[in-house]
């Protein structure tokens, strides 16, 4: 069995201060191996975003342990977390959140620039390659505001991949798109996973899309209630490592 890329043990996350505490995660155990393409589903308010934020190092868990790419992330300080996040993780959100002041290309260059400290020509080349991969090379110099929702989301995916992250976290990446665009974006994520071996954890409300992943993790009320491999005609089943 391959070494897990991500491992959560007994992770609890509380919001607020006593006596007004919301326990959003009630002891989550989860393990993700490299190359997985997994969906996270569950009713509204069940803690999907919270779990993604904890995994994405945007929130510190209240208790529990977490290991990401071999690093115990509970030991990192703020700047350490930021750097580690930049190197290891990519984010795609429901709304693309491109920086409107920048062009499509520049939006992809910024994470590389920030990680390496100085800009060089290779970043531009890589950004162009990524834009090409998402089918938007011709929009490289368009301002982010001049892109359609689906196009912007594809640029956001290219941006998430800029620093070759081991794990991409996507929170309802197609939630804001029509069916055609949603299919296109989802297909793109799938292709990246297949071609680059990038691991994905995708929150979705769309059962149709969830069925197109390798593994579906269901969370209800802050607990994982089911975790199953998906077998379809097209996709190879993958081993599942966590219990329900």
């Amino acid at each position: 069995m391959p070494e897990p890329l991500l491992e959560l043990k007994e992770v609890v996350k509380d919001y607020g201060t006593p006596p007004l505490v919301t326990r959003a995660l009630r002891g989550v155990d989860l393990s993700v191996t490299p190359g997985e393409f997994a969906a996270l589903i569950g009713p509204s308010g069940s803690g999907k975003t919270t779990l993604l934020n904890v995994i994405g190092l945007l929130h510190k868990p209240t208790s529990g342990r977490m290991t990401l790419a071999g690093t115990d992330t509970t030991r990192l300080d703020d700047d350490g977390l930021t750097r580690f996040r930049a190197r290891t993780l990519g984010f795609v959100f429901q709304f693309h959140h491109l920086v409107p002041a920048l062009t499509a290309l520049e939006n992809i260059v910024v994470p590389m620039w920030s990680l390496q400290g100085r800009r060089d020509e290779s970043m531009r080349r890589r950004a162009l390659e990524l834009l090409d991969a998402v089918g938007l090379a011709h929009k490289a110099d368009s301002r982010a505001t001049a892109l359609s929702g689906g196009q912007a989301q594809r640029v956001a995916i290219a941006r998430a991949l800029a620093n070759r992250p081991a794990l991409v976290l996507a929170d309802e990446p197609t939630g804001n798109l029509d069916t055609a665009s949603a299919d296109e974006v989802f297909g793109l994520l799938r292709r990246v996973n297949r071609e680059l071996g990038t691991t994905f954890l995708i929150v979705t409300h769309d059962p149709r899309l969830a069925q197109r992943t390798d593994r579906v993790v269901e969370i209800v009320d802050g607990r994982i209630v089911s975790d199953e491999a998906v077998a379809t005609a097209r996709d190879q089943p993958r081993p599942v490592s966590a219990k329900a």
């Binding site: 700047d79 959100f93 709304f95 959140h97 920086v99 002041a101 520049e106 910024v110 620039w113 920030s114």
Partner: protein, 404 residues
Amino acid sequence: MPLEWFLAIRFLKEGRAQTALIFGGVAVGAGVVVFLSALITGLQASLVEQTLGSQAHVVVRPPEEEARVVERPAGAVLAVRRERTPQRVQAIGQWQQVLEQARSVPGVIAAAPTVNGSAFASRGSVTKAVSLRGVEAESYDRIVAVSRKLELGLFRLAGAEAVIGKGLADELGLEVGDKLRLAGEGERADVFTVAGIFDLGNKDVNQRWVFVPLRSAQNLLDLPGGVSTIELRVEDYLKADEAAQLVAARTGLVAESWTELNRQLLVALRSQSASSYMIQFFVIVAVALGIASVLVVSVVQKSREVGILKAMGICTGMVQRVFLIQGAIVGLVGSALGSALGAGLALLFANLAQNPDGSALFPVDLNATLFLTATAVATVTGLVAAVAPAARAARLDPAEVIHA
């Protein structure tokens, strides 16, 4: 270019109307500061020039003569009534030595001996009471630049030459090359040739002052080998008091600075400066508040982008710098525009209001220091104004703003 600069410039460019407005605000503020400084400095310089144009910064003279008790019998208690003695022209003993001592005082940049007294100037049947000033043209010119204020002729006092004011020249109908008779103490009198006619910008001085060679004045006033005052120029006329005290201490003579004779002028200058500083201070505060409020709005508008940048791995310090740099750029560019605006306004003003002779009624003083200071102050102001917005941006929690 570092990433923070790139982002700061892009953010500024993006907020077009907002950026234009804040640049405009800073420019107007800086323009007011530059204009006001140029005007006040120019006005003060011309006021000071009017006064100090014909006056030394410090005048060294012997102490007043006092009546002394001639004899005090042993054990006797005396009731003494002091009467001021009539003052006659007194000489400074060993003035060459005093001159050297005065020159060695820090801040003193020139010293000249003068012999002063009253005399009568006459031509034909017209006689006028004048103030005789025996000087060496060369050394005195560095105290009061007579040579630069000549209407006619030269400031030259060789042999029996005299340089007179234009008022006296008019009264006596004198021109360069004409002869003039000067009568001093007792029967002493001499005939001089007018070498130059000056205009020191003061009517009284122009009517009464007559420059003659040191030796001639000593003759006419019966002060063989002596001088009555030593006049000094100091580096910074506002520090004349300190120099005067030092000179007095070193020479044991009385040293009077121009400020003692022009108390009111000094008070006027100081209160002018104070009120102009006050106005400038409040303008700067207003500009700072303007920059801060625009940046706060921009932080709020950009909170999602800031959040996403942080999630992308841009550290807190860099986010902070992006906004600090924006503040500094606004200050720098705004004040550069403002300096040009203020300078243009000042020049316009100086050209509009003119004296009959074509000189500016409100002289303005525009110099590089003023622009550099205004720009530096505005840049620092922008930076300081950006501190709070930058801190606010740095505090943003990416998870919160992204999902909000």
